[in-house]
Structures are given as structure tokens and as C-alpha cells.
Amino acid sequence: MDTHVHDRRRFLALTAGAAATPLLAACGAGFGGGNKKSDGSAADDVTGSFDWRREKGTTVKALLNKHPYTDALIADLKSFTARTGIKVEYDVFPEDNYFDKLTVDLSSGRASYDVFMLGAYMVWQYGPPGWLEDLGPWMRNSSATEADWDQADFFPNLLQADQWSLKDGTPLGQGGQYALPWGWETNVVAYNTDVFKKLGLKPAETFDELREIAGVIKRKAPGAGYDGMYGIAVRGSRSWATIHPGFMTMYARNGLHDFTVQGGKLKPAMNTPEAIAFTQDWAGMVKQGGPPSWTSYTWYQCSSDLGAKKAGMLFDADTAAYFQAVAGASPASGKIAFHPGPKGPGGSLATNMWIWSLGMNAKSRKKSASWLFVQWATGKEHLRKAAITNNHIDPVRKSISQDGAYKDKMKHLPGFIETFETVVDQTKIQFTPQAQFFDATTSWAASLQEIYGGQNAKSVLNGLASDLASKMG
């Protein structure tokens, strides 16, 4: 054997690896635990009449993302504990690191958190390895779920968005309910009414108009007293998050798809001639009317530019504009109006969305108590309170969106309610559900940046498609 000293380290490391096998075996399959699904759900163990106090004395651990919805939840936790006798311990992490934390926790196969926040896209990643509890059996069990919880009150698109068969390419709304909608965001256009009035503009009804208006604002607004203002803020950083708000909404309104499913296989469709033309137009819009340094733009930059009167429009989550629009929040407060945004060629207002959902750890040892918590947090009482006294806007329940007090609260924002009501039925997840979502959309964002940087759209998107096809193969 070569006794060179540096080989000794390698040898040491290898021995450590061999010694690691028991640990590997000890934590289930090592990586996030098994995919074994027992036929029965723990929900079946809950029998008798429904009782909020069934699990009193238990403590549930929740992992939460820093968000106004979370603030509203935390503010109301006392009422949950008073009703159920269940204590909730929680950790709050910033959005930029929240999913790292959650992913590491889930993939290690530990059950350090019973309940957590996640988006619908995360179901595609966390569901297949068996990390998420199917909440369906819990919802259907009248011993576990209060009749008043009222599943039919959720907007059906939202409920379906968290329901999936765990098979790539199959549509949402079938299979297990791997999370429950709790708060959400629809992607629409918010605009600065002052600028629009001064330049004599009207919100765009078509994508062509939108591009034109964006360019007009960038050319004319700075001369009309809006120093440094450009037309439209949209995200542009190298991240999946760049694709899903404005871009995916407009893409879907043009009748375009991310993938097509052929014989159970996913085929990338970002490089169809229509998709290439649209992508080129989008990049062109950003070039002519978008923010400088666009490739670094996340929702932080987009929303703060709208608030600072640097962006004439924002095509992003309605909440991103809402929190700049409320009184005293920013210089643009009181001057921000909402509009559904341009229609597609066929009049489509198909809209993509983000849903903050609540999910349960499949490894949790306190499922019954956790379900009581999720049930309460997605129930009418808490959500109504959160919507009216806190900032839990964009209600997931129909009853709250129609609630007089909620409408009163939102009516000072021009167009907010009308926009919400116009798009709500056409808002759904516009992506094809599949486990490689984050990889595909991150590469897609990188391609978008390259096209914006002047590369040929067709060759970039063809490259993207063949790259993704080989990964999915």
C-alpha cells in the first residue's frame, strides 16, 4: 500500500464512511426515510365525536416563514391554545433561507417540525419521497374534522393545487391532499395612477399594449417629473421565482405550456415557435421598459421600486403591490391601483399563483394534534380574524372574500377587489406538476437572462429544451 501521508487522510475518510453505514441504515433509508406507504392513515385512529380538546397538553412544533400571514397567525395562537389546550412552539426564518431549513429537515428524515408552511410547487418535490402527510383522510374523517370547517368554502382551484397523484405530468386535483391552502397571491398588474394620469395612459388590455406602455413610461416619465422612472417591474434574477409570477401568467394567457405530456413522458415546450416569440417579446419589454440591472431583480427590488415611484407598473403578486400601497407604507401609497393585466389573444386571463399552504410532516408523532392545528389555522374563524384585523389578504375561502368587513378594508385600494374577483376563477397553477420543477425553472430563468443579454432566443431555448429533455429522460 502506498504509505504517502496524504493518502492516509483519504484512507481515514473512507473508514469513517464505512463506519457510517449503521447510521445510514438507522435513519430509515438514510435520505429522508422510506417511501413505504402503509395503507392505513393515522387519521383512521381518530374515532368518536369531534373534540377540539382531544389532544390537550400536547405541544406541536411549527416551522414558519417570516410573512404578514405568519404574523397574523402568531398573533392569534392564544385562541388556538385556549380552545384546544395544545401548545404551539414555532421557529420563524427569513424567506431567503426558509426552504433550505425545511428541506434539510425533511430530507434528513427527522420529524423536528410537525407542521410547516410550503408552496404548491414544494409538494412536487416533498411529496414523492413520502415526506408529506396526505391530509385527505383527516379531512374526510368527521371524528377528526369539525363539520364547520367546510371544505366546500375553499376556492376549488386552490384546494386542487395542493392535491396531486405524485406522478410527474399528471394534473393537479387528483390523488392525495398534501397540503392545505392557507394564504395566497394572484399575479396581476399594479400601476402608479399619478403617472398614468399625467401621461394619459390606460392600463394595458393586450400584451402589445403592455410593452408599448412600459416603453412610453420609460421614455417620458423621467421628463414629466418622475426622476429615473421606468415602465414595468418584473423579476429577473437567476431563480425559479423569476418565472412563476408575471412571466408565467402572461405565458399562460398566450396559451403556452411549459411541458407537454406525450405517452406519460414530459416534453419541454419552451421552444415552440410561439413560446420563442413570446419569450423574445418579454425580454424586449424588459429591455425597453424594464428596470436597469434587471437580472438582479427579485420581488424585493420590484416591489420597492413601485413604492419608491421608480416603476410605473408592477406585474407580480398582488400582495407585493399591496404592502407598498397601504397608507404610510411608501411614497406611492394611495397612488397604486390594481388591474388584471393584459388578456391573451383569446381573451384569456389565465393567471398563475403562489399559495402559502400548511403541510404536515409524515414522520410527525403528533399527527392528531397537528391536524387540529392545521384545521384551526385554515378554518373560517382564524382566517376571518387574520384577514380583517391583520394583513392576511387574498383569502383562500370564498366566505371571507365576500365578507363585508373584508371588502370594506380593501375598498380604498382602487381595483383590488375587482381585479381579485375577475381573475380568481382563472387563477391556478399554470405549470405542469413534476419533481424537477425547481431545476427546470431555474434554467429557464438563466435562459431568459441570456436572451435579455442579446443571445438568440431560438438557440437559447432549444438548448434549454434539449438540456431539460435529457434530465427528464
Binding site: V5, R9, N97, V104, S108, S112, Y300, F323
Partner: protein, 282 residues
């Protein structure tokens, strides 16, 4: 004679130029910090719309220190102090003997042992983070001070061993030999002769190690939750939510500069002189 004055003029001019160059660098180095101070004093609704003229407020500091926003910043602050001080002290306790031994005696494998110590800095945190997470959960070290202090050895120990080794190497062995002749034991010679002579170095390298431990981000992010979380993770928490609150993050970051800054000022006279190996010679 005129040549002389010409020379002094040139010298003075060069001196000014040198000072000017220094000032230029410090403008670059200090401007972002000054800007953070300005940000931290801005009201939230003027964050992005103003540059230098705004209505200053201490509200951000009140929010950060008042534990509002649901982030127990003060507790994180105490946590940071405990784990950073703990990590540096532990590194000194085990690192100084190691540094001393490798500087004093050339023994078989000494270079390789030292290199092994250094090599722990090479492993990207990502390689070890998930196995560590599982291990910590099993051993009950997750979200504890002990766990954090241990993992921060990756940051502090190599720095301390490697820099202190140069100090000991520069220390002439004659002093200790004299002490040994005076009837000191080896241990006494180390504690009473060698150690006091490198005290400035210890102070300085401890400061650097403290700063790196204090600023570490990935380990506390993944290996702690509520109990042992530190300020760096806490400061970023203010960026989430409804609007990016850079004013709060800036305030939190500036508050968390205070302990290392105080430490630096206390040992200022050692800092540069201290790291100077020559100061302990002769």
C-alpha cells in the same frame, strides 16, 4: 541648498499623495458602513425614496432591540456571545499547546498533522451540513450551545493554530531553556515564559477568530432553531414579509458589530503590534 528644499517639497508632496491614497481606500471601506448607519436611521417609508435628507428616527433600533417583529433579537445576541466566546476559548485551550508543540519540536509527521488541521477549513460547509444535522439530532446537540461551539471549531481552530504557530516559531527557545535551568518544569516554562511573550498575538488572533465565529451563517442556520440561534441569522429575518426592511437589517447588523468592535478597541494596541511577530522577539 535649493536641491535640499526641492527634496523636502517632493517628500512632503509624496506624503500628501500617500495620505490621499489612504483616504481613498478608507472612503471605499467605510462608505458602506456609513450607508448602513444612514439606512438604520431612516423611517421605513423613506427607505428607497431618499438618499441623504430624511427624518431620522431611532425606531429601527427600538424594533430590533424590543424583540418586536416576532424575532427575539436580544436572545440571539446573547447566544452569539456565548457560542463565539466559547468557541474561541476552546480553540485557545486546545490550539495553543498544539501550536507550541509543532513550533518547538520537529517530530515525525509534524508538518502533516498541522496540514490536517488546516485542511478542515477546506471542506465546504455543504459537504458536512446534512450528516452533521442528522448526527446532532441523534446526539442531542441540535440547537445547543455545546453543538455550536463544537462546530465552530472548524472556523476558529485552524486560524488560531496556524497563526500562533508562527509566533511560537519566532520565539527564541533560549528563554525557555534558561527557565528550565532555573528549575522550572517544562509546563511552567510554557505558562510562565512562552505564553506571556505571545500574549499580544493571542489577543489579536482571538479577535479575528471571534469575528469569523460571530459572522458565521450556515452552521447556525441549519444546526440551531430557537434556543441557540445567532444574530447573523436573526438580522436577515427582518428582510422577509411584507416589504424588505433593510432599515431593520442594517440596524440589527450594526448592533451586532458592537461586541467585536468593543473587543477590537480593547485590544487595539495589541492588534497590529500584536500580530507583529517581531514585537515579541529580542
Amino acid at each position: 541648498m535649493t536641491g535640499m528644499t526641492g527634496l523636502t517639497v517632493r517628500k512632503r508632496l509624496l506624503g500628501w499623495l500617500a495620505d490621499l491614497a489612504l483616504i481613498l481606500y478608507f472612503v471605499f471601506a467605510l462608505f458602506p458602513i456609513a450607508w448602513m448607519v444612514i439606512l438604520s436611521l431612516k423611517p421605513a417609508n423613506q427607505l428607497f425614496s431618499t438618499y441623504f435628507s430624511f427624518t431620522p428616527t431611532l425606531g429601527s433600533y427600538r424594533t430590533v432591540l424590543g424583540d418586536s417583529e416576532g424575532i427575539p433579537f436580544v436572545r440571539f445576541f446573547v447566544n452569539s456571545l456565548v457560542v463565539s466566546v466559547g468557541a474561541v476559548v476552546l480553540s485557545l485551550v486546545v490550539g495553543l499547546p498544539a501550536a507550541y508543540a509543532s513550533a518547538r519540536w520537529r517530530f515525525k509527521g509534524s508538518e502533516n498533522l498541522m496540514f490536517t488541521l488546516l485542511s478542515f477549513r477546506f471542506a465546504p460547509e455543504l459537504t458536512v451540513i446534512i450528516p452533521l444535522f442528522v448526527l446532532y439530532q441523534k446526539l442531542g446537540l441540535f440547537d445547543t450551545y455545546v453543538g455550536m461551539i463544537w462546530v465552530l471549531q472548524l472556523v476558529t481552530l485552524p486560524l488560531i493554530v496556524w497563526i500562533m504557530r508562527s509566533y511560537f516559531a519566532d520565539l527564541t527557545p533560549e528563554l525557555e531553556q534558561a527557565a528550565l535551568l532555573d528549575g522550572y518544569t517544562r509546563k511552567q516554562a510554557f505558562f510562565k515564559v512562552a505564553l506571556p511573550l505571545v500574549k499580544p498575538g493571542i489577543a489579536a488572533v482571538s479577535l479575528l477568530a471571534f469575528i469569523f465565529a460571530w459572522n458565521n451563517f450556515v452552521f447556525p442556520l441549519i444546526l440551531t432553531s430557537n434556543e441557540a440561534q445567532t444574530v447573523t441569522v436573526g438580522a436577515l429575518s427582518f428582510l422577509g414579509g411584507d416589504r424588505p426592511k433593510y432599515n431593520l437589517t442594517a440596524a440589527a447588523a450594526l448592533v451586532s458589530v458592537v461586541p467585536p468592535l468593543l473587543l477590537a478597541l480593547t485590544i487595539q494596541r495589541y492588534l497590529v503590534r500584536g500580530l507583529s511577530f517581531g514585537a515579541v522577539k529580542s
